[in-house]
Symmetry: C2
Subunit: 256 residues, 2 copies
Amino acid sequence: MAKIICVANQKGGVGKTTTAVNLSASLAVAERRVLLVDMDPQGNAGSGVGADKDLLEESIYDALIDDAPAARIVLKTELPYLHLLPATSDLAGAELELVSVTDRERKLKKILASLADSYDYIFIDCPPSLNLLTINAMTAAHSVLIPLQCEFYAMEGLSQILKTINLIQQGLNKSLSIEGILLTMFDARNNLSRQVGEEMRAHFPKETLQTVIPRNVRLSEAPSHGKPICLYDITSRGATSYMDLAKEIIAREVSH
Amino acid sequence: MAKIICVANQKGGVGKTTTAVNLSASLAVAERRVLLVDMDPQGNAGSGVGADKDLLEESIYDALIDDAPAARIVLKTELPYLHLLPATSDLAGAELELVSVTDRERKLKKILASLADSYDYIFIDCPPSLNLLTINAMTAAHSVLIPLQCEFYAMEGLSQILKTINLIQQGLNKSLSIEGILLTMFDARNNLSRQVGEEMRAHFPKETLQTVIPRNVRLSEAPSHGKPICLYDITSRGATSYMDLAKEIIAREVSH
Ligand SMILES: Nc1ncnc2c1ncn2[C@@H]1O[C@H](COP(=O)(O)OP(=O)(O)OP(=O)(O)O)[C@@H](O)[C@H]1O
Ligand SMILES: Nc1ncnc2c1ncn2[C@@H]1O[C@H](COP(=O)(O)OP(=O)(O)OP(=O)(O)O)[C@@H](O)[C@H]1O
Ligand SMILES: [Mg+2]
Ligand SMILES: [Mg+2]
């Protein structure tokens, strides 16, 4: 039975897609069966694993709005243990189209239930918003992984996502937990980065993950080659830090 | 009569707020009367100019949803020629609340019409989405300024925002133009940055602005002090590049 983790933060550009893509790929390299679900109309997670959005006949939009069977939409990737449920820009319309649908918040949960037996992990990449798409992801997930860029505006937004998780825990998904807060784009030479890191460990000691993702240009180059970091440059600090994160996530499974 | 420019890009973390805050502040230093409108529920633009969101009694939400007079909500800032129309997290609810309202796309246009005579420029900071809040901003504006981070995922999203602008030009706002595409977080030592810069000048020579904003840590430090860059560190490359941008925007006024 798959563990479903949604990668969310309404602050933009904090490393949600980079984390969803590279953590999925690192677990797939460790031969866990992984499904990466793209719930962002930008479709960046798909590009990050080499999917060509222009060739897609169906996407997650068709499963959410027209009840198309998700198993038909799932794509293979270059990594044998990694599959993708892709998104296209149509998904931007789903927000308004879902408004008047019954059980609008639980659509994704039902879709993933039909797939969960085929995977060990399912990761959901969320858009930079706390809209119906992100609410669907948090309702379908067992836990939320919150990437946090080590900058002021990103810290300021943390209380909003924690409040939203709390609301979901009271209603739509009582068993939702916080998988962890992941410090991203950390630059040890930069005062602000160090301050944010210290503040996070002081105020959120349990939630802040041990693994820290450094700022590493190879991580931003990899998507232009349609490859996760472990295929683009396995020797880079970006690749080793996401491998460390995969080990930390697996270790948490064993101890829970 | 104010020139209304909306700062938009659905890709997250590309420098929308940093641009809206620092361009507004640079024009205010040049004694243009400027109103900064925050249409992002994260409320980052307000923090960037020192507004304390917890002290706010009213925000743009009250003008959009309850027709509160905007002039009553506008706040002064540390810069005499810069005013702020602030946002709070309530604004996240406006998206669904506006769905069934008549003229839902033109609400902001009507609000700004009542303020336009008091300003030379009005800048609207948009959330990372092409939702009703951003559509309202594009319908109210004369032009769109598109910050573009020099990275692969940001380039990938450019066609979506250009498509949305085109749709708005055909219906809701026929006179909407592109003020320009602004390259942000440019790092001359980084191949990817240089490649994106070259590609943008080759494919969008007219739209890509002359001014390029370099990656500069002082820009990310300034918001934690609640100050635009010109008040936090006027000697920084971040401050001079936003002053250059202000000059370029003013020069375009003269020649149009
Ligand atoms: N650790 C890192 N080091 C260097 N660059 C990074 C790192 N993580 C992400 N990036 C780059 O920073 C940009 C933002 O990251 P990403 O797109 O993953 O964030 P996001 O939160 O998914 O953004 P959005 O809010 O638009 O969905 C991308 O161009 C990405 O390549
Ligand atoms: N030129 C720059 N150099 C260094 N840091 C920058 C620069 N521009 C912006 N930043 C920092 O990068 C982060 C993202 O910028 P910003 O928040 O302005 O983007 P945004 O597009 O408004 O994000 P969102 O999509 O969440 O609204 C912020 O922490 C900001 O301080
Ligand atoms: Mg993303
Ligand atoms: Mg912003």
